[in-house]
Symmetry: C2
Subunit: 471 residues, 2 copies
């Protein structure tokens, strides 16, 4: 618990009701969406304005107290666990849509806004905000910005980064910084906007964002293609892109995921398939139909066993549900679900899936794989039990080898979930010693005392990389 | 001139022929595309590989000698003028297309490659690299990355930043840093790739870039719309975007520019128009035709005096030439041409053009305005004579007021040309004191001794912002 006078200072800013340090509040904010990570904060604060955030940061900065800003905590990298204690700042009270500018096609919002509410509001105005992380029903725009969230539409439309064009944030010192604006182009100095997106709350507290909106596609078509041969599915992914078609969605589920999803959602999926691709194209009706016909041809060329095309929106939703429910379905299997995020060049999808399967077998753990095949972004997901220390250790060893394989295939340790606590020991594998040093320098430029989300992104010690021979 | 032993060290790396400090070489590299700025370097070096760049940086770092990396020097912000002496590093020998990966739709290139050569090579393979700065016939990909160059296709397709997905660069220390990769998604640590794009050679020397390619549009249509009323043209811009149409190109020329361009290119443009819009849409044939029909309707609603639609590619090229030749045409008028880069939210285009005209009149200088109206990115261009000190002073005062007006309208001091020397005194107007401090910290993280392109981006003293009353 913080000193009495600091608690009084903080309560003086937000009011009695909005600084809490009762045991329930502390426990509730000691973890996030990531399994097996927990640490109690010293307090929880709920600011209502940028001015309050600034005043809070001045107090915490003076006393060198850690600050962990968070939305709904749906991240999967331990990004909002207060591992060094301090104050958790919950942004939910700052959840307004401040403006939708129909002339400039921008929206200005507060960080605590729920992503899905925002998307629905925007769609109601006849516009489109593409980033659609699987967590969007509960995640916040601020959290999406902190983690640079992706989603099912990332292949064609890009991720959160591609839609954030301006930010207001509060630095560790309490100073307010504004970047970008309602501007399609701005090269006045270093691109702080894009730097802050994906900075995981370690550089500043985001208090307002200006987002780019685009015209919505007029038409959409959805299909499932099912394969007895994993490589056939993977070759389909490459061949679609090689054919100069960028689908809106190009998702993959392996056999174990198919079985689990079907048990959960009762969709009547064929349980003997090695892989299913979920493919969507959107845009103008005529080219969508042509693209989908060509994609179906490619699926057949690659020996797809069945192709199922949605005839209407309900059917499309049912097919999408199969993919969207993967995490939920897997989470029902066993007490602990660890969802990972290895990403490779999309031409390496098949190699990566085979590597994952080989590694899982080697360590005798259950790993199901699904993900954004078109992006090369896979989610190998281990189902385990946190109480079984030995099994959890084997899972950790397996994931370490999976990250190593991703790097070896020209990939990265995380495509859309972030580094947080979980990947911090592996960051150096991707960015090298020089990259770590530069990143630590950037961190120090924003946050000289290291009070913003400490313990994240940079590990005390990098994991030694053991290059493992194949087979 | 550098000490004999340092010159020998440098010649030892690149060979006798590739380090020069004869007067011709020094004078040739003492300036760039920006008027009225010149400073002699101490030497000029031409590396052939990343290893050579690294060895050079180790030598220069040891002796704390400035290094200014450059391509063709076509920038307009004084970005490559060696104002503090040192060594100019010309990247032209490193100009290879290392790989075009047809499965992942990426190209990996060296920085000295000429943009237009790259675009033509890619188009020959049936792919598309959209960034098309006006300088593309001479500019290099490395220079485009350093400045985050835009172009005529920026509105729909984005700028250089949106296509750089991986970089290899050499830090001031000589260490080699690799960022990103052939990856559509990568959130492993801070986004150094996007940070390096637009960093103007102040953070690292870029030695290799991995670029995203996209499928080319199948069809394109081009039109000119001519207005007797400036506001009609500006309202057309807003109304097109509001109608959920994002054209590939949406360019603007004011009356003085129209006259000058017509004198130069003999296109038979009507000389009594207040403004011309050049509008292109591309994509699938049917939606392109529909968009262009709707755009023509909007032009008519906004009292366009004439609409001219290109019937074929030659005619389209002729219309495009009108816009592309604006800078060249203006440069013929008087000895010195100062092309600026103020950018506003696109809904403020008309206000900004009126402000520019008012300010030009107030200071009795000639400023023609053209630019990327769809992006809100205007190029007010002063034609003057560097020998007329008094007039140049008035031009400078006018531009200062123009930057101030852009900021006041929610805009920025530069949309695509960069800060360099020219805008350094004004950077604080856009990013604030806190922004400057953070940016200086980032600079120090990459380049602790300040030897990379010193004197750029950060002014010794920020210009005091005089908020000028209107009218």
């Amino acid at each position: 618990m913080l000193d009495q006078h600091i608690r009084e200072e903080l309560r003086g800013v937000v009011g009695e009701a909005y600084y809490k340090d009762d045991p329930e509040s502390l426990v509730t904010h000691s973890y996030d969406g990531t399994p097996m990570l927990q640490h109690l904060p010293d307090g929880v604060i709920y600011p209502a304005s940028t001015a309050e955030v600034s005043a809070i940061m001045q107090i915490l900065s003076k006393h060198r107290i850690p600050l962990i800003s968070r939305g709904s905590g749906s991240n999967l990298c331990g990004g909002t666990v207060p591992v060094q204690g301090g104050v958790v700042m919950v942004m939910h009270r700052m959840n307004a849509i401040l403006e939708v500018d129909m002339q400039n096609l921008t929206a200005t919002v507060q960080p605590g806004l729920i992503t899905k509410q925002f998307i629905e509001h925007i769609e109601g105005l006849g516009l489109f905000y593409p980033p659609d992380p699987s967590s969007m029903a509960i995640s916040t725009i601020g959290g999406n910005i902190a983690e640079c969230s992706g989603g099912l539409r990332g292949l064609k439309y890009g991720t959160t980064k591609d839609y954030v064009i301006g930010l207001e944030c509060v630095l560790a010192s309490g100073e307010v910084l504004r970047t970008g604006g309602k501007l399609m182009k701005d090269v006045a100095g270093y691109d702080l906007t894009k730097l802050l997106v994906g900075s995981e709350g370690t550089l500043a507290v985001i208090t307002e964002a200006t987002l780019k909106l685009i015209p919505p596609p007029k038409h959409k078509k959805t299909m499932l293609a099912m394969y007895k041969d994993l490589y056939g599915a993977a070759r389909t992914v490459s061949k679609i892109i090689e054919s100069r078609i960028i689908p809106a969605t190009l998702e993959f589920m392996d056999n174990p995921t198919i079985r689990v999803v079907d048990d959960f959602a009762k969709l009547g999926l064929p349980r003997d398939m090695a892989a299913i691709l979920l493919i969507e194209q959107d845009g103008e009706p005529e080219p969508v139909e042509r693209d989908m016909a060509r994609i179906a041809d490619i699926c057949r060329e690659e020996q797809a066993d069945q192709i199922q095309v949605a005839c209407n929106q309900e059917e499309a939703l049912k097919l999408l549900t199969a993919r969207r429910s993967a995490f939920t379905a897997l989470a029902r299997l066993r007490p602990t679900t660890i969802l990972e995020d290895a990403t490779v060049p999309r031409s390496k999808i098949a190699d990566m899936v085979l590597e994952i399967n080989r590694i899982a077998e080697k360590h005798n753990v259950q790993i199901c794989t699904f993900g954004h095949a078109g992006d090369g972004n896979l989610h190998p997901t281990a189902t385990t039990d946190a109480r079984d220390r030995d099994e959890v250790h084997r899972v950790e060893e397996a994931f370490e080898e999976i990250f190593e394989a991703a790097i070896r295939l020209g990939g990265t340790i995380t495509g859309e979930h972030g580094v947080g606590l979980v990947k911090a020991p592996f960051l150096e594998w991707k960015v090298g010693k020089a990259g770590i040093e530069v990143m630590k320098g950037i961190k120090a430029a924003f946050d000289p005392y290291g009070i913003l989300n400490p313990g994240k992104m940079f590990a005390k010690q990098a994991r030694r990389r053991v290059v493992i021979g194949r087979g």
